[in-house]
Subunit: 382 residues, 2 copies
């Protein structure tokens, strides 16, 4: 019966009116009603993506969108430059290996952003690299990579595409797909779109379409060309996740009404206030180039980050996330994505204060909350 | 505002209490609560599948489950025997081709079931075939293939597996995964499980696990071995479709309470009554070995099946399905899957009577309905 709060970076809290919409009786996926809904959703996605490119809608987790990118753009024996600065950078490399593509890994320490210069040099050393694969925001570390700069570098290369995993970035902060020359931008439903997991979305540039026509990798379910043909018939290549797309239609309508600027400002405010609170508590942020999607906090010396997560979940009904792989125990992560507002961040900070105190860390209760209050008060009177 | 009825073979009508459950706030996929739910769902799936095998849960349409089967069991250069008697048999062959696997196609005329003898002979001609790929029920034609007999044939072969697409069969009628030696059984959420689309379920036998360890096909998102490891950690390899799995937990609990026999009887009754009604109207069934999942009706001479579908949808608010590919215009299909009951079949027959009359076909209104009424009355007094 305990009240539950979901503040992990996916799945995230879904708004009640969206859940209610998805609970309506289903409509058939090959009906004119669904085609009309799908067409509107695709238009609204272009607004969210700031693109004229088509945005494909796949029934899968976000990883399915990443796999679709590798399988549709790269052939066995091809090379791809992979920015590997966290668990999801590693996923790009693993996907390459699964498809017989040779990853040229640029290893970036967890918590740091890639240097554009390093990518430029890798492209000089490997002029035959067919793609640069990167995260806009590396969810495992909370770091933003400089994709705008990477877009400027890759646009000069006629035979190389820039593919961006923006799963925890698109809709959180400004990503200009077309202006920044992002050939592929992948996102998922369960991050800033505030929907349950189960949808991957992929925008595909003209350069990427050209490349997709020449690819020799095995693929069937994740097939860009089949999806493109399906779009012409106002449908999808395979049975779509109807209820999630219905939910998506509501979220995208809300986003249109809110406007992208206000949406980005919302995330920025939650993020800045939380980070101010964390700093006021004498805690350190893990990411050197922190994002507005999550706040990643270094566990203080002698404290296991997993214990913080556990106390919040078991004692307080609040789900945040711990660290993954090499960061396990060393960090904990609070999401600013999902159906959240300023008061949720106050709760998160209050809970972190209490948990750390309980774990024996010297904490002045209320100090983190006070800093966030101050930030929010200033924003609202500004 | 028109009342809508969904009687197509997927997506199907979802029960209100299941929709309501899925509309509850989300839980995190890496939490003890979700792990417990997942573990219960996996146990309940074994009951539904009549198996001791693990059943994998993938976030994709049913086709994703078929692709997972091909990608995890077969390597480029392998041979597979494909029963091709409809659109989904063709899909097995296309999947093989996408993965460099050579399909040995047994072409069966649409509307007919495969002869087990033909499969036996193909296995003699191609003793190196690694798999037999078949539909339990070919949704495009309404035909049941004799998978129990195929199980007897394939069990004799140590290096060959039987993979069954049971997307529109499992939960509709009796399929004994273990007793019948079915190595792979694929289903999807949007058929007899009466959920929205977005989940594929795949049971994997010991023989199939062995084979999966040797496969060389490119795969990442659809990876049996990764999913197996994830099961040991009571989780999934990638972010699962949380809300659909929550819905699945409710449906499987209902199925346990109802019992498989009653579930199969339910579909049989809807099917038999509908087929009795169709025959009473002087119409012909398309399938020579008809299933309990759907009733497939030949459009009478001079009538386009698509027109029947259109009138039902546009004028009556009822969604049934037309024919696909070579059967387009020649048939129309009424589903018995989903949250349906006897009165829905009365509605479907009444609507078909009216539509055919409107299209100029000689119909005695009420005659189909009367036959179904008779059938249902007998069942209920029996």
């Amino acid at each position: 019966m305990k009240k539950q709060y979901l503040m992990a970076p996916g799945p995230v809290a879904v708004a009640p009116h969206v859940l209610a919409k998805m609970a309506e009786p289903l409509i058939h996926h090959r009906s004119p009603q669904f085609s009309a809904l799908l067409t509107q959703v695709r238009e609204d996605l272009k607004y969210l993506y700031q693109t004229k490119n088509e945005v494909l809608i796949l029934a899968s987790s976000g990883t399915g969108g990443m796999e679709a990118t590798v399988a549709n753009l790269l052939s066995p024996g091809d090379k791809a430059i992979v920015i590997r600065g966290g668990k999801f950078g590693e996923r790009w490399a693993e996907l390459c290996e699964a498809y017989g593509v040779k990853p040229i890994n640029i290893d970036v320490p967890w918590g740091e952003a890639v240097e554009p210069k390093g990518v430029e040099e890798a492209l000089k050393d490997h002029p035959d690299a067919k793609a640069v694969l990167v995260q806009a925001h590396e969810t495992s570390t909370g770091v933003k990579h400089p994709i705008e700069e990477l877009g400027r570098i890759v646009r000069e290369k006629d035979e190389t595409v820039l593919a961006v995993d923006a799963i925890s970035a698109l809709g959180v902060y400004d990503i200009k797909t077309d202006d920044w020359n992002l050939d592929i931008v992948v996102t998922g439903s369960q991050k800033s779109l505030s929907l349950p997991p189960g949808l991957a979305l992929v925008s595909v540039s003209e350069k990427a379409w050209q490349m997709a026509q020449r690819t020799k990798s095995s693929r069937y379910y994740f097939n860009f060309l089949k999806e493109k043909k399906a779009i012409e018939r106002q449908t999808t290549a395979f049975t779509p996740a109807v209820s999630l797309i219905t939910g998506l239609s509501v979220v995208l309508k809300d986003i249109r009404e809110t406007g992208l600027d206000a949406l980005f400002k919302h995330h920025k405010n939650l993020s800045e206030a939380t980070k101010a609170g964390i700093r006021a508590l004498g805690l350190e942020l893990f990411a050197k180039a922190p994002s507005e999607a999550i706040t990643v906090i270094k566990a203080p010396d002698g404290i296991n980050g997993q214990d913080v997560v556990k106390i919040l979940r078991e004692d307080y009904g609040i789900t945040i996330a711990g660290g993954q792989a090499q960061a396990k125990g060393k960090i904990f992560r609070i999401s600013h994505m999902g159906h959240l507002c300023q008061w949720d961040m106050i709760i998160a900070l209050a809970a972190v204060e209490r948990a750390l105190k309980e774990l024996g860390h010297p904490i002045e209760l209320g100090k983190g909350v006070a800093a966030a209050q101050e930030y929010f008060a200033n924003v609202h009177t500004a």
